[in-house]
């Protein structure tokens, strides 16, 4: 231990050597004896100790090259260099991990989207959900589901919007038609746009709309009343889902909002290959 410490440090350390220490102090303590002499204790002693301490100062960078090993002992110097090298590799690994994390957080968004589309989790539209399926689907006749309808309007929209039937009984795999009615009692043409909601949420992924009146601007002239149909079906796989065993009631809820002129609302859902067929007239 003696080799590590520069001489002045040793003196400061051994100044505190207690009188009552068991065993004869070593040669280092005897060398340090000057500080135990009278006059070396008290405030004056400390100052002198500190001054001696001040005599040894940290080598400035100008005097020698940077990163000089702190020790003069060759064994410990190689050890120190070894530590430095290891520190450097660890630092490199940590920096690489940090950059990797940053990259992963950016990549997570499209990857998650891809994952959702392939597994169909979260009710997102599964790719390959085509009209061929409708052609070939077989109604599951023993599972009758009640669909209730709900109609809402946003406060700023003054339409009278209501369903034309309170409920309808369907079976999975069978296409069904339902009607809503909307009337514009004001004297100005109003454009509305609607969205829908299906409760319970898990059943919503089986609720497929073939055609409806949502997500596109619908214009009602003054005092005009129109019928708005919804053509939908429940996916036959609904009957095979164990989570849906107790689901007998599905509520379809439409809400109309007022659309501002020239506003283009983005369609919900992530997949951009969902093309809306343009209205054939109007």
């Amino acid at each position: 231990m003696g080799g590590l410490w520069p001489p002045a440090w040793r003196r400061v350390v051994f100044c505190g050597w207690p009188w009552s220490h068991v065993g004869r102090p070593t040669r280092a303590a005897e060398r340090a004896e000057p500080c135990l002499r009278p006059g070396r204790s008290g405030p004056a002693g400390t100052e002198q100790g500190l001054r001696r301490l001040g005599a040894w100062r940290r080598p400035s960078p100008a005097e020698q090259p940077l990163r000089r090993p702190k020790s003069t002992n060759p064994y410990t110097r190689s050890q120190e260099e070894d530590w430095r090298r290891r520190n450097k590799t660890v630092l490199t690994y940590v920096a690489a991990a940090a950059v990797g994390m940053l990259g992963a957080s950016y990549a997570a968004v499209p990857l998650y989207r891809l994952y959702c589309q392939t597994t169909g989790l979260g009710g997102s539209a599964a790719a390959g959900h085509a009209s061929d399926q409708i052609e070939n689907m077989v109604p599951v006749k023993d599972r009758i589901i009640k669909i209730t309808f709900n109609a809402d309007v946003h406060a700023s929209l003054q339409w009278n919007f209501r369903p034309q039937q309170t409920e309808i009984y369907v079976v999975p795999g069978e296409t069904a038609l339902a009607f809503y009615k909307a009337k514009n009692p004001t004297d100005k043409p109003v454009i509305g746009i609607s969205t829908y909601n299906v409760v319970p949420f898990e059943a919503g992924q089986y609720f497929n709309k073939i055609q409806c009146f949502c997500f596109e601007e619908q214009r009602l002239n003054p005092q005009e009343e129109v019928d708005m149909p919804v053509f939908f079906y429940i996916d036959p796989e609904f009957a095979e889902d164990p989570r849906m065993v107790n689901v007998d009631l599905i509520t379809l809820s439409y809400t109309f909002f007022e659309a501002k002129e020239g506003h283009k609302l983005p369609l919900p859902g992530y997949s951009s290959n969902h093309q809306l067929s343009p209205p054939s007239n109007l």
């Binding site: 052609e135 038609l177 497929n208 055609q211 949502c214 619908q218 708005m228 919900p268």
Partner: protein, 89 residues
């Protein structure tokens, strides 16, 4: 557009309709078919299975009047109704 803000619970994701949006029937051209369908529903206790003929007719009316894109009826799930009205069960 669900408002249930529970962390971890699946929320509802609205999906656009497969074939897009119905154009509005401003002139009520298919209103009679709709009335027939609604009457059928009311008579049959709102069972859709028994009123599929009427719904097929309503959609045919729409297609004739350019209020709906033309589609073969099989693609709309009415395959069994085209050939024979006998197995309407």
């Amino acid at each position: 557009m669900s408002t249930a803000m529970n962390f971890g619970s699946k929320s509802f994701q609205p999906r656009p309709p497969d074939k897009g949006s119905f154009p509005l029937d401003h002139f009520g051209e298919c209103k009679s078919f709709k009335e027939k369908f609604m009457k059928c529903l009311r008579d049959n206790n709102f069972e859709n299975t028994l009123c599929r003929n009427e719904s097929k007719e309503y959609l045919e009316c729409r297609m004739e009047r350019q209020l709906m894109a033309q589609e073969p009826l099989e693609k709309l799930g009415f395959g069994d109704l085209i050939d024979g009205k006998s197995d309407k069960n």
